[in-house]
């Protein structure tokens, strides 16, 4: 899994590509911990190039969403597709996580 970080003002955009599974999902949690320690409160994660996610990846998103919420911030997820989107729907995480169709939409709302 690759993570590309871009900072836009006080917002951080993480673009994730590849697979988010039991071994790689911890990388995203570590990146998010870094953001939180830097005082970032608005995180946007672009999943347009994420081809696969498992329950461990979903778990990471729940952990991250809770942490940002505790800090008064927000996690927004955009461009999930295919099996990734299917898993968000099957687990109804699409109803509790902030999902957007585009990076622009997530940026505007945050």
């Amino acid at each position: 899994m690759d993570i590309e970080r871009t900072q836009v003002g006080t917002k951080v955009l993480l673009k994730i590509s590849g697979r988010m599974d039991a071994e790689s999902s911890v990388q995203l949690e570590q990146q998010c911990e870094s953001c939180i320690s830097e005082g970032i409160t608005s995180l946007i994660v672009d999943l347009g190039d994420l081809r696969y996610i498992s329950s461990m990846g979903l778990r990471s998103f729940v952990v991250i969403a809770k942490k940002f919420r505790e800090k008064g911030g927000s996690l927004r997820i955009c461009r999930s597709t295919g099996l990734v989107q299917q898993l968000f729907e099957i687990t109804r995480l699409n109803q509790v996580l902030n999902l957007h169709d585009s990076v622009e939409s997530a940026m505007l709302e945050s």
Partner: protein, 141 residues
């Protein structure tokens, strides 16, 4: 004539995931499963292996996990995952409460749910000290 089986024995730890996935993907290719089914197969194997790795054996002493596959007919892959850990029937677990908001959602607990959502004919039995979890995945949903 019974379908030919292929087996692989691994150590039950998440580091074995790549080998496990590569192995069952061989079966998926032999069974001519489409790409979408192969991604689902990856998911099923990961969910089972992670569960065995985390819960079956005492911490720090991982035991064996045996993955076996066969092709009962073209377009269908039958997979069984066996371990000698504590007795655990995932089919008996209560489903997670998916109506909870983010604050009340527990961290984790979705793996078995995904397994049940994607596996066709998921079965479990305990036999002579082994947990045996089997499923099939078909080209036709």
């Amino acid at each position: 004539m019974p379908a030919k089986t292929q087996s692989l024995t691994l150590v039950a730890k998440t580091e074995s995931l790549g080998l496990a996935t590569d192995f069952v993907r061989n079966g998926a290719r032999e069974a001519n499963l489409p790409e979408a089914r192969i991604h689902e197969l990856d998911l099923l194997i990961e969910e089972i292996l992670v569960n065995v790795s985390r819960y079956s054996y005492p911490v720090g002493t991982p035991g064996p996990v045996i993955i076996t596959y066969s092709i009962p007919e073209p377009g269908e892959l039958a997979v069984e995952v066996c371990d000698q850990g504590v007795e655990f029937d995932p089919l008996k677990l209560d489903p997670p409460d998916l109506t909870l908001d983010i604050e009340r959602r527990p961290v984790g607990g979705l793996g078995i749910w995904l397994l049940k959502s994607f596996a066709k004919s998921l079965t479990y039995r305990r036999e002579q000290g082994w947990n045996r979890l089997a499923f099939t995945i078909s080209a036709n949903v």
